[in-house]
């Protein structure tokens, strides 16, 4: 194909992969799909620089070839899986740390660096990037922005957009643009085009570099678990402690089912699931971080307030530690407990709706009902607080999916769609950390109404030929292709 020859000429043969076996590897991510649903691109390119990406997009633009950029390929909804062949840009070859500016607490990095690599680079300065999804060892800066994934520490620091000061992109016409406000934390100038990148799924352009805001690493962290009679009580408690002036670093409300998924290390050691009171419907994992005295005072105060909600502190530290290791440090023995062992026959699949803070309880029961309706085994619900100093949460409504069964994968997708649409009836949103991908594209208008047309116009401005990750967010026909 002519465009492949041109790619070879433009960036060099060693950066262009065309062997069918190589292409196959890039045709699936973390999302539930059968092995038959691998969607290989026609060519994979391995750029080193923004200039490389510009050359690639220029060729794609000239030939009208689809371009899908990807990072760690750990997306939960197929955001970086190419739907129409074309060019797959593996951005992970672009991982240089361009600049660490400790005085201004910023970092400039190429978009293919993993979130862990960023933290490895800035740790010697006593700084960290607090955007920390569980996939941080593999998830890249560019992918975290483009898919707007979740973060363990969202309630204090927000998600990646709260850390993103500026980003360089290559648009669908091959133009290099810097969007943002350099090293200033915020701006009141112009339209905030940088914010469009969060959750854009590569549909506007390829993110090539980012300037990120860093935070000082707190001296101490204390993590606890508190059990509640109801999911809603946990939300009320969090609202109450924010009112009290406490600074929460992490807060995750697990339903009673979900706890088991995160405590395999405990089960491995003791041969049983952790004992929690039979009345407990919700388990709140909560962390405070900072100077030792402050942390202790805040933690003690939170526990005092918990008594007002007839909640109970989990005294068995191993339960808490096992959960925290599973969620954050990822350093527990045997690590394998969490992934392939628990997914040897079925894998984790989720819907990611958002609902108003007062309707968690109600939606939880709907989730159980909808999972049952589609005959899916429940993993459970987790509400992650992801908005700084507020009780706004993302929801992970998780089920096991037999990815070897086309029928079960189909039922999972129906479950995902039903919960997404249901969230709108709850005055919520369809997505809080996975974005839309092609899954929600057919019914995205339900969420956005007439404003979807404006989104498409914006898309056309960045990508007039509709070559950037086509089929994501908008059905390809809608893009005029």
């Amino acid at each position: 194909m002519a465009f492949i020859d041109e790619l070879v000429s433009a960036i060099g043969e060693e950066k262009v992969l065309t062997d069918p076996a190589e292409l196959y590897v890039y045709g699936a991510d973390w999302s539930p799909r059968t092995p038959d649903e691998v969607r290989p691109p026609e060519v994979v390119v391995l750029p080193d620089t923004t200039r490389d990406i510009q050359r690639i997009v220029n060729i794609a633009y000239a030939h009208g070839v689809p371009v899908t950029a990807g990072g760690g390929l750990t997306g939960m909804l197929g955001g970086a899986v190419p739907l129409f062949g074309g060019i797959y840009i593996d951005t992970t070859t672009m991982r240089s740390i361009v600049e660490v500016d400790p005085k201004n607490q910023t970092l400039r990095v190429q978009a293919g660096a993993t979130l862990q690599e960023v933290n490895d680079a800035v740790n010697p300065y006593g700084l960290w990037l607090p955007h920390q999804p569980e996939s941080k060892w593999v998830s890249t800066v560019g992918a975290a922005i483009a898919c707007d994934n979740d973060s363990t520490f969202g309630v204090r620091y927000g998600k990646i957009l709260n850390c993103l000061l500026s980003a360089e992109i290559v648009t669908g016409t091959g133009e290099v643009l810097e969007l943002g406000h350099r090293k200033a934390h915020f701006t009141s100038s112009g339209y905030k085009l940088k914010d469009l990148l969060a959750g854009s799924e590569g549909t506007l352009g390829v993110i090539t570099e980012a300037t990120l805001k860093l935070e000082p690493i707190p001296e101490t962290r204390m993590v606890d678990m508190i059990v509640f009679h109801r999911m809603g009580s946990a939300v009320d408690f969090l609202s109450r402690i924010l009112k009290a002036g406490l600074c929460i670093e992490a807060a995750h409300i697990n339903c009673k089912h979900r706890l088991k998924f995160y405590t395999h290390a405990y089960k491995d050691k003791h041969g049983k699931d952790p004992d929690i009171p039979s009345w407990a419907e919700a388990l709140l994992a909560i962390a405070f971080a900072g100077d030792k005295d402050i942390v202790k005072e805040q933690r003690d105060h939170a526990i005092d307030i918990a008594a007002e909600f007839e909640a109970e502190l989990v005294k068995e530290r191993e339960i808490v530690d096992s959960w925290w290791a599973s969620k954050y440090t990822l350093e527990f023995e045997p690590f394998k407990q969490k992934w392939p062992d628990s997914q040897g026959t079925k894998k984790f699949g989720a819907a990611d709706p958002g609902v108003p803070v007062g309707r968690l309880e109600e939606f939880y029961h709907k989730f159980i009902e909808v999972a049952g309706k589609h005959d899916l085994e429940i993993i459970g619900m987790n509400a992650y607080l992801e908005h700084p100093n507020s009780i706004g949460f993302s929801l992970s409504c998780a089920v096991f999916v037999d990815y070897r069964s086309a029928d079960e994968v189909k039922r999972f997708r129906m479950f995902h769609d039903e919960l997404s649409k249901l969230a709108l009836e709850f005055d919520g949103t369809m997505s809080t950390f996975m974005s839309d991908s092609d899954q929600k594209a057919p019914y995205l208008e339900l969420e956005h109404g007439p404003s979807l047309r404006y989104m498409m116009e914006i898309k056309k401005l960045f990508d007039p030929k509709g070559i950037m990750n086509p089929g994501k967010k908008f059905p390809r026909e809608a893009e005029g292709k």
Partner: protein, 375 residues
């Protein structure tokens, strides 16, 4: 021999999971950043092959052999990924792929000379000259010191064998060696996918050990250590296999070997076969702690990164192999240490090929520390 079909369920499990956590510690992936070369990609490639999505292509062969089998991908996963890669190599050779020419050369040498380095069998006698070590004979000894091909025939490594033998003597261990009759353990055959040749060799080897009445094998080569140990277990042979560091560390710990501690800052590189694949982490560190101002590298123990020499990578992919060695040296330098200590002939040769760091064998270092006391 493992048929790829037997692995299908596990390959699907990797496909289903797709976490990619194997990529973080993979020295080859971290250098090349091509997903086909990561374990997640390799598992997916095997699945694609089994499902007939594509035929064996040059990239499949590359994915199979561009790996040091260092085992880091197994660290974070319940799947036996290193075995998957080995099985893929066997599968390819069984399905008409010719051995890589560099590997074919190693194999020819093992067949003709009993070692992978085209050295006559008599070369195995050189390292022990002047050491007065008895040659193993039926019923005459319990302990065999198994030198291993590489150290025995390569001149720069012979001193490490002599050091090991001297330390064993100082410890009062009675042992013998096989000299030019010592066979290759078969590690290379095993790791480049020559399953049938390996299985015959390991059977022959243990028949020889049994004829000699060997009860325990002490070896200075981590590759021989894991290979012989696993062969003994597989064949049900009641012969204990230990690495020299295990045999000697006890004596250091008990104070039976008097050593002088150096003030020089040194760091220790875990050979993959001894550490991650062999489970021996503490004993070399006990020795290090006794003889030097010892500091750990950022990635050590289970997390130690491979030097890049293993599983045929050094011979077939020398540029990549050297890049891995350079990374290791850079990591060692980052500790502020001036000497890098290890105890594997492959790692030593490999790491000495990159300038900038003094690379020392653990047994040579220990011997010197004991000489400093006695003399």
């Amino acid at each position: 021999m493992t048929d790829l079909e037997e692995l299908k369920h596990d390959l699907e499990t990797c496909f289903g999971t797709s976490c990619g956590f194997c990529e973080r510690g993979c020295p080859v992936y971290q250098t090349l950043r091509i997903k086909t070369i990561s374990m997640r990609g390799r598992n997916r490639t095997m699945l694609g092959l089994l499902e007939g999505k594509f035929d064996i292509t040059p990239s499949v062969v590359k994915a199979a052999f561009e790996c040091t089998l260092c085992g880091n991908c197994d660290r974070w996963c319940s799947l036996k990924n290193t075995e998957h890669t080995r099985a893929l190599r066997e599968y390819l050779l069984k399905h008409g792929v010719e051995p890589l020419k560099e590997h074919a050369s190693l194999l020819a040498s093992i067949k003709n000379y009993g070692n992978p380095w085209f050295q006559p069998r008599s070369a195995r006698n050189k390292w022990k000259k002047g050491l007065d070590i008895p040659k193993a004979a039926p019923g005459k000894q319990d302990v065999l010191f198994f030198a291993g091909c590489t150290s025995a025939v390569m001149k720069p490594l012979m001193a490490s064998l002599a050091a090991s033998a001297k330390l064993l003597k100082r410890a009062g261990t009675e042992f013998a060696v096989m000299g030019q009759d010592e066979p290759c353990c078969g590690s290379t055959l095993h790791r480049v996918g020559q399953a049938e040749a390996f299985e015959k060799l390991e059977r022959d080897n243990f028949d020889k050990f049994k004829t000699l009445g060997i009860k325990k094998i002490v070896t200075a080569c981590p590759g021989c250590y894991t290979t012989l140990k696993k062969s003994a277990e597989k064949l049900g042979e009641d012969i204990e296999v230990v690495h020299i560091a295990q045999e000697i560390s006890d004596l250091v710990g008990k104070g039976d070997l008097k050593v002088r501690r150096s003030t020089e800052k040194m760091t220790y590189h875990d050979p993959c076969h001894l550490g991650r694949l062999g489970g021996v982490f503490e004993e070399p560190r006990e020795i290090m702690g006794a003889v030097a101002d010892y500091v750990e590298m950022p990635n050590s123990g289970y997390e130690a990164r491979c030097c890049g020499a293993g599983a045929g990578l050094q011979s077939a992919f020398p540029k990549l192999s050297r890049e891995l060695a350079q990374k290791k040296i850079d990591e060692a330098k980052s500790t502020g240490a001036t000497t890098l200590v290890t105890c594997c002939p492959f790692c030593e040769t490999q790491l000495r090929s990159v300038p900038g760091m003094n690379v020392v064998d653990l047994m040579e270092l220990l011997l010197k520390a004991t000489d400093d006391v006695s003399g």
